[in-house]
Amino acid sequence: MGFFPYFVAAWLFVIGLWGVISSRNLVRTVLCLVVVQASTYLVLLGIGYRAGAKAPIVADIPTTSRLVDPVVQVLVLTDIVIEATVAALLLALVVQAHKRFGSVNPDDLRPLRD
């Protein structure tokens, strides 16, 4: 695997940020944010990966088996929970914004223009 997952992660991070920057639709903005977050999963899982190793479920395999690192998998699970919370909250805000502004284009959201 080598550096491959990290290249993909860097690509996802950058392309996701570009998506957030260039979106004309807030739903797309939130989805691009999820793409940025996907890069963190890849980084974490890539760090724990070991070639030829088994999933870290130690109940029914010999204790000498090679396992992938379970710690990063736990981190990713936490990360996914956070992502779900933030994405759900943001999408709810976007729905509400659509009701109030009649638009989900960030160009049309003007009340806070300084």
């Binding site: 509400q96 009340p111 806070l112």
Partner: protein, 608 residues
């Protein structure tokens, strides 16, 4: 004693969901009392931990998973006086905000209280944790609660936009932090901060460690609103309910600076020891940019909540400078200043809340002269303005003096000018508001009249007629101001912070007490005395604030008399600055990317 360590987090964390479950069926007094009881209990527990940590700092290992031979297995809370003190301060501000909210909203459900308690659990855990990943998780917990609280008035347009900008910017910062944590775990195989620090020691910081540091600092400085990652802050503050603004400005933003200090000293201080000069230069630069831009933007506002928000940015810039000096005294100065500033700013937001509650607008020109109905608020705002300007000999002055001493000690004398400018212009902006609102001084028509609309309430938070201000809304800010005046004058308070800050910056001692259970006592220091120069600087900043306020109120003719060669570029710079704060999330993330890339690039060049 140490077994209560997790309770200050657990109590609000359990009480919050309980309120969601029963809040809509229970009478209001029940919700209020349950929330207040949980908040007060948590504050008391934090204070107990702080007292215990004053003897010697101690780790608490969840589930009894203590380290074996200096290797961590479990997850720790690593409690030292600065962390526990900051947790106590956050918890007390939550109590004050809840008390203030008793009469601030007419229609209120259990949800508001529940979110406040979750927010509190996040902040307290953030201060106490000794685990890098938990630090990030507590960051996300408090952030998620904060996004929802910003959009609490979900039927209005401003809060929606403010919360969306806040949530997206801070989430991007959070993801950068996740990658930073991953990279450090890959290098060291550890998540405990002491263990990571010990593993990094003795090795030169290579590109991987520097990239991890920049990503982590980038995330926390997004929360701390360092320029150019600061755009979300003014938007969120302008629209969030007042009790929420109190917590945002009073302590949440400062927690970002705390995390940067904690990470530098506990993780990177060993491996970057040879590069202190470089680290100092980069982050002092960032702090100065933040202090200056925040100050100028503060003075350009007519929306009082936005004005206070930019004033927070300016002060955070000074805090970043103080931490970036990389000295114990700098940390002591920031600690003192954070308490003084937090109490003052909380009180000022509460005063703004009284005006908003009564007159349904928070525009400086709309309010001209109307403040005479509530003279006490005028007195409190004037005191607050003077405290922001670091009037001697109160708490903010003590903090600023320590910062000045520590700047001179490392050869950054010129920073004193930045501190004076930041204090004077932010204090001056508040005093200008006092003059206009409570004395009807200055012209009635302001620049950018379209901005007044943004400052008016769309729907009222309060349904009853507003001819009266509930006493609680005056008592709470009054009490906070008394604290801001008095705390720094308590004998032993500032020397105490000095000693514990000196302990905070002992990189190796931290590993000793966390990993090996050593009893480390804070060093005995000669009491730092405040020199006549410091009084001079602060008198200068106070006079500067009065001058700036006078200029803002009566200076229109003077400004007209300026030669065109100065006036025209000045006005266009102001226009450009206003234009940058466009409220557009795409612009904000562009600035975020540019800022983090720039700092990262500079660090990779300077620190290798």
């Amino acid at each position: 004693m140490t077994h209560i360590s997790a309770l200050p987090v657990l109590v609000p964390f359990l009480a919050g969901p309980l309120l969601v479950a029963v809040g809509q069926f229970a009478p209001r007094w029940f919700n209020d009392s349950l929330a207040a009881a949980a908040a007060i209990a948590s504050a008391g527990l934090c204070a107990l931990l702080a007292v215990h940590a004053a003897g010697h700092p101690f780790p608490y290992w969840m589930g009894g998973w203590t380290p074996r031979y200096g290797t961590t297995i479990g997850i720790s809370l690593s409690i030292d006086l600065l962390g526990a003190g900051l947790a106590t301060f956050s918890a007390l501000l939550v109590c004050a905000a809840l008390l203030y909210a008793l009469r601030y909203f007419d229609a209120i459900e259990g949800l508001f209280h529940a979110l406040m308690l979750l927010f509190m659990a996040g902040m307290v855990g953030f201060c106490l944790t000794g685990d890098l990943f938990n630090l990030v998780v507590f960051f996300e917990l408090m952030s998620a609660a904060a996004y929802a609280l910003t959009a609490y008035k979900v039927e209005e347009r401003g809060p929606l936009q403010g919360a969306i900008n806040f949530a997206i910017t801070n989430s991007v910062g959070g993801y950068a932090m996740f990658i930073g944590v991953g990279l450090l775990y890959a290098r060291t195989g550890a998540l405990n901060m002491a263990q990571i620090g010990a593993a990094l020691d003795g090795h030169h910081a290579d590109w991987l460690v520097i990239v991890a540091m920049v990503l982590l600092f980038g995330g926390f400085l997004t929360k701390a609103a360092a320029v150019p990652l600061h755009f979300w802050l003014a938007d969120a503050h302008a629209v969030a309910p007042i009790p929420v603004c109190v917590l945002f400005s009073g302590v949440m933003v400062e927690l970002g600076v705390y995390a940067v200090a904690r990470l530098y000293w506990q993780l990177f201080a060993g491996s970057l020891a040879a590069h202190e000069v470089g680290v100092r230069a980069v982050f002092v630069g960032l702090g100065v940019a933040t202090a200056l831009l925040g100050g100028v933007m503060c003075f350009l506002q007519r929306h009082v909540k936005r004005l206070l928000a930019f004033s927070t940015i300016s002060h955070v810039g000074m805090f970043i400078c103080g931490v970036a000096l990389l000295t114990g005294k700098g940390i002591a100065g920031v600690g003192t200043y954070v308490v003084g500033h937090g109490l003052t700013k909380a009180a000022l937001f509460m005063c703004a809340g009284v005006l908003l509650h009564r007159f349904a607008t928070i525009d400086e020109y709309d309010l001209r002269g109307r403040g005479r109905e509530v003279p006490l608020v005028g007195v409190m705002m004037a005191v607050g303005g003077l405290l922001l300007a670091a009037l001697p000999p109160f708490t903010t002055f003590m903090g600023k003096s320590l910062l000045e001493e520590s700047s001179s000690a490392v050869g950054y004398n010129w920073l004193i000018a930045v501190y004076i400018f930041g204090s004077a212009i932010t204090g001056g902006a508040v005093l200008r508001v006092v003059g206009r609102v409570f004395f009807a001084w200055g012209p009635a028509q302001g620049p950018r009249p379209a901005k007044a609309r943004m400052a008016r309430e769309e729907t009222s938070e309060q349904r009853a007629p507003r001819t009266q201000t509930p006493p609680m809304m005056l008592i709470v800010p009054g009490a906070l101001l008394v604290g801001a005046l008095g705390l720094g004058l308590l004998p032993g308070a500032v020397p105490g912070i000095d000693r514990f800050a000196a302990q905070f910056v002992q990189h190796r001692a931290y590993a000793a007490w966390v990993l090996h259970g050593a009893h480390i006592h804070p060093p005995i220091l000669p009491a730092s005395h405040i020199s006549a120069d410091d009084y001079g600087y602060s008198i200068l900043s106070t006079l500067g604030a009065l001058g700036a306020a006078g200029l803002g109120l009566f200076g229109r003719r003077l400004r007209r008399a300026l030669p065109r060669a100065i006036a025209v570029p000045g006005a266009s710079v102001a226009d450009v600055l206003h234009g940058l704060h466009s409220g557009h999330i795409g612009d904000y993330i562009t600035w975020w990317t540019a800022g983090v890339s720039l700092v990262g690039g500079v660090c990779l060049i300077v620190l290798r």
